[in-house]
């Protein structure tokens, strides 16, 4: 059965490694914080200038001066640090943040990602996404395999304006974990109960399917 958002987040959380600093984008990526595996310590960076983000505040304890990049009120953990935006992107551009998780509208088999602009529609801007994808050593894209019209978003080539070129290495969808290598998608895992056929049929890009495709262990 296809995963829900929490399932995708849970699978991505398995990619976390002890001691990593992690930047989580808005949407599904934010949920990853709820599924940190036992025995693993990670610290969350938000590009508006905080390291060591904690959970949302209790009602009545919100501080207008303390928000995350999604403009949500947050708290911080012991040992947190605040800094300005140039320092924040120094961390990101300088590859001090070990993992970036973000959403996408499309990814291509060459590792291109599009997630900021639909021509003809209102453009909201790229925010920090272009800096994040251009610099992160590890990028995991959290996305749905298809759009509402059931068209694949896992493509040979992106059709939308790019956010970054050749930067994505791993994609987790409601159906599968894909790796991007040698200009192809490689099927690594499938969601519990999801058939290889379904994944193949919903993937427009070139997909390498090994003989055995393990199910995700969630």
């Amino acid at each position: 059965m296809a995963l829900d958002k929490n399932g995708i987040a849970k699978r991505i959380a398995q990619e976390l490694r002890d001691g990593w600093y992690v930047n989580l984008g808005i949407g599904i990526p934010t949920l990853v914080a709820n599924f940190i595996p036992e025995g693993i310590e990670v610290e969350f960076q938000s590009e508006n200038g905080v390291l060591g983000m904690g959970p949302f505040p209790f009602e009545g304890e919100e501080d207008a001066d303390l928000i995350n990049a999604g403009k949500q009120t947050i708290t911080v953990q012991k040992g947190a640090a605040f800094f300005d935006s140039s320092m924040s992107f120094a961390m990101i551009r300088g590859q001090h943040v070990q993992l970036t998780v973000l959403g996408a509208m499309e990814v291509s088999q060459s590792g291109d990602i599009a997630n900021w602009k639909i021509p003809g529609k209102m453009v909201k801007g790229m925010g920090g996404a272009m800096d994040l994808v251009a610099s992160a050593e590890n990028i995991i894209v959290a996305m749905m395999h298809t759009n509402r019209e059931n068209e694949s978003k896992i493509l040979k080539e992106c059709t939308l304006p790019l956010t970054g070129a050749g930067c994505v290495k791993r994609v987790v969808t409601e159906l599968a974990v894909l790796e991007i290598k040698d200009n192809k998608f490689h099927l690594i895992e499938r969601a519990p109960g999801v058939s290889v056929e379904e994944i193949v049929s919903k993937t427009q890009g070139d997909l390498v399917v090994p003989e055995v495709v393990p199910e995700m262990q969630l």
Binding site: S46, E47, N48, G49, V50, P55, F56, P57, F58, E59, G60, E61, E62, D63, A64, D65, L66, I67, N68, A69, G70, K71, Q72, T73, I74, V76, F82, F83, D84, S85, S86, S88, F89, I92, R93, D112, M122, V123, K124, G125, M126, G127, G128, A129, M130, D131, A134, S135, P161, L162, T163, G164, A165, G166
Partner: protein
């Protein structure tokens, strides 16, 4: 060197139509509220505003948009603003979208006398169009140029009479770099203290970057996305 001016009216003296302004803040967090309201009163038009965001319809830079005072926005993210959308789609408003990290660094560069630098952000995207590309360590980078402004308007938590500034939590964001990049920098602060009260070890923006400082009359500090946990 006393930088204190009496009020927001005195602070914004000299701002004219057609000028380029930098305004600190991320979303509605750490924005110079009092100065923005004064810009509405002044009615200056054809402004180029450099600010990470464009406010919401009835707060922050949204107020200037409502009055059609802005000709061009230079930002990284401009969602959550219907009037902005209308003006942009109708072509009334010119919008230059810049990756957030490049925006921050371009402001810092403007203040630091660095006319241009290379960054990987935006390579292979429309942001790179017309920009020089160069490979460093096997990776393509684009050349980005410095940004400066006629006036930079920032909001700090505490400031002293010498213009030294201290910011609180994530309300710091773009304020320190913009303070560096204004030909004239105006700081509105929640708390204005005598020189010597701020610990010189913990100044975020040294006073050399600030030409005018005043205590803001009122700070609404609106929250854009109030998100809470339930109490037990």
């Amino acid at each position: 060197m006393n930088k204190v001016v009496k009020n927001v009216e005195d602070a914004l003296t000299g701002i004219e139509s057609g000028m380029t302004l930098m305004l600190g803040g991320f979303g509605l967090c750490g924005i110079p509220e009092n100065s923005i309201q004064q810009l509405v009163k002044l009615g200056v038009k054809d402004l180029t505003c450099i600010s990470n965001n464009a406010g919401v319809d009835d707060f922050g830079l949204g107020l200037l948009l409502q009055q059609k005072q802005i000709k061009k926005m230079i930002s990284s993210y401009v969602g959550e603003n219907a009037e902005f959308e209308r003006q942009m789609l109708s072509g009334e408003l010119i919008v230059d979208l810049i990756p957030q990290g490049s925006l921050a660094e371009r402001c810092r560069a403007g203040g630091a006398g660095i006319p241009a630098f290379f960054t990987p952000a935006g390579y292979g995207t429309e942001v790179a169009e017309g920009k020089e590309v160069r490979i460093f360590n096997g990776k393509p980078h684009i050349l980005e140029s410095a940004l400066t402004a006629d006036f930079a308007i920032v909001k700090a938590w505490k400031g002293d009479t010498e213009g030294n500034l201290v910011f609180k939590a994530t309300a710091r964001n773009f304020n320190p770099m913009m303070a560096m990049a204004g030909k004239i920098t105006i700081a509105e602060v929640e708390e204005l203290v005598p020189a010597g009260e701020l610990d010189p070890n913990f100044i975020h923006t040294p006073g050399i970057f600030v030409q005018r400082i005043f205590k803001g009359e009122k700070f609404e500090k609106r929250i854009e996305q109030r998100t809470v946990r339930k109490n037990n």
